[in-house]
Symmetry: C2
Subunit: 208 residues, 2 copies
Amino acid sequence: MDRKNIPRATVRRLSLYCRYLAEIREQDIEYVSSRELGGGIGTNAAQVRKDLSFFDRFGTPGRGYPVGFLHQRLEQILGIDGRRWQVAIIGVGRLGSALVDYGGFLKHGFHVVAVLDSDKKKIGQTVKSLTIEDVADLKAVIERSRVDIVVVAVPAEFAQRVATQAVDAGIRAVLNFAPATLILPEEVNLRHVDLAVAMESLSFHLIR
Amino acid sequence: MDRKNIPRATVRRLSLYCRYLAEIREQDIEYVSSRELGGGIGTNAAQVRKDLSFFDRFGTPGRGYPVGFLHQRLEQILGIDGRRWQVAIIGVGRLGSALVDYGGFLKHGFHVVAVLDSDKKKIGQTVKSLTIEDVADLKAVIERSRVDIVVVAVPAEFAQRVATQAVDAGIRAVLNFAPATLILPEEVNLRHVDLAVAMESLSFHLIR
């Protein structure tokens, strides 16, 4: 399977299916139909079948998907089956420090192993038992802490520079929270989290 | 147009098209093809045409979409054309306080007008010139500040309770950041922002 062929929206839904399956698995539900699974995340049965068809055949005719098995497979597919991902957060402002102890990251195997900032007053202080390091030492920190994923949480005007530095240091996965569009080499996986997008989906409905 | 017919993923992409159009509009680009517009947000031309077809006919054959006009229309459609949305944030932990001054909200017309917490030590303190109020007074705060949208940023175990209280006070739009699944009446618009979903899209690609 070539990753290029899988739409981004499908990968996003795989995470949501995975969450929903974890929930119903706790309730000891053994099988789930594509309709129920879709309903659980706000999509339809056809979309569920299409999304899962990129991978294996999961369903049993007439019974639906086996919950435990599908949950496990999705965790494998997403790379969160007990694997440990090492994350560095650049920018220890309010958002950056909120992300350091965001429970959802740890729960899914993303461990914040380094935090960096350019503010001399912050460098040397600790956040959740991590010492804030100088972003000027980014390359050394990435190598020493074997960082897989870099989170950019700096003000918009510095975002491109720190992201480029991270990529130059060998990083191939960047999660950007700064309200800025980053340009990075095509082989780098880049995701932009724009918190206003979810808000706009609410305003879209409120005016109707 | 019935809002029920518009897929969630389409509404999400409308926000992303809107961002991209704002950018190229600043560069004085007058027309954009569906291929370019799709490329700008990581989707394809057919998807762009399908998403926009829920609304008007925007394109001019052979020339593409007029950037300024389409941008303006999408702002209208999303309800962010100069309209002011009043937001209350419940839970002034790290994430909650990061959201109070998240630039992306203000830029798109979302004004945080109230912050609430249950912690007696926090109540009465100020965040960005807003006085933290007691969540026990939620209904009064929502009425007084004419709140449109409530952001839930409390620990998972309290999320359902405060969301239900907000809905009982008349709120019809809830943005949930707590790692918990909320159950609210169908007429309430509810969005869950799970920050680990974007992270998993990176791990999905890193293992391939």
